[in-house]
Amino acid sequence: MKWGVVRFPGSLDDDDALYALREVLGQDARMLWHKEETLGGVHCIVLPGGFSYGDYLRSGAIARFSPIMRSIAKFADDGGLVLGICNGFQILCEAHLLPGALTRNRSLAFICEQVTIRVENARTPLTRATRAGEVLRIPIKHGEGCYVAPESELRAMEERGQVLFRYVAPDGGLSEAANPNGSMRAIAGVANERFNVFGLMPHPEHAVEGELTGGADGLKLFHSLIEAAR
């Protein structure tokens, strides 16, 4: 399967995403510079974490206007798979390819820690190698990960199964304490209505080598996409 990892000025986790895909998963992955206008026939685009354009104005607000984003919007419109991680999630929201927005963490602090998230919908290209209700251990590292959307939109998203992951305690239970950033309904990741564009704040590419990072649950999400593209 061919993957493209987009590098914006200020991207940080592009190399980690490429490493996870190439070295750990044996995938054919290439870096795409944000000024490129073609995607090189890839099956899945990854928008990595970082601080594209210094996060000026709002996280993701400027990156959204990079030349490559027009091609990605068209790619998504044609049904191509797009995964936004952290800053990539913020960019997809700003580009209106995903619903909602990501705002400052409730605590105002930058949070870098291992969290547990629960799979809410396992019938999507990003989650098909998981089980509904399964708890995954994946790290977060962000200052603006508080997911917000209008209440009516949230209700519609829940009905359609677009809420993919929620922050939970290790036993899978919801609690205020387990919600690290104050996200509405503890949402950690979502999909678009067509289920081909995905965004999440936790970093699956940082959870691919258990002995190094305390878990390899991120692999399940990449395996899901690989299965889905078959």
Binding site: A61, F65, T103, G182
Partner: protein
């Protein structure tokens, strides 16, 4: 024309910065301060033939980039012209 744009967190959206500053004001003894919100103030110059044309242009700028209507409200003032 000179334009001043004020962007503020939308009513009902969590504003942790506003809350932190409100708590700081209270701890300084400003007990009467409440409802603190922190936004963004943007100044720019826009060329245009009429004030109405500039206002329409600035509204488009706000909707497309300067504010995120999901989480922020904006208002602006146009001077000159």
């Amino acid at each position: 024309m000179q334009v001043r744009v004020y962007v503020s967190p939308r009513q009902g959206i969590l504003d942790p910065q506003g809350r932190a500053v409100e708590n700081a004001l209270k701890s300084l003894g400003f007990a009467d301060a409440s409802n603190v919100h922190i936004g963004r103030y943007i100044t720019l110059e826009v060329k245009g033939d009429s004030r109405a044309a500039v206002e329409a242009e600035v509204a488009r700028m706000c909707d497309q980039l300067l504010a995120n209507p999901l989480i922020e409200d904006y208002r602006f003032e146009v001077e000159g012209g």
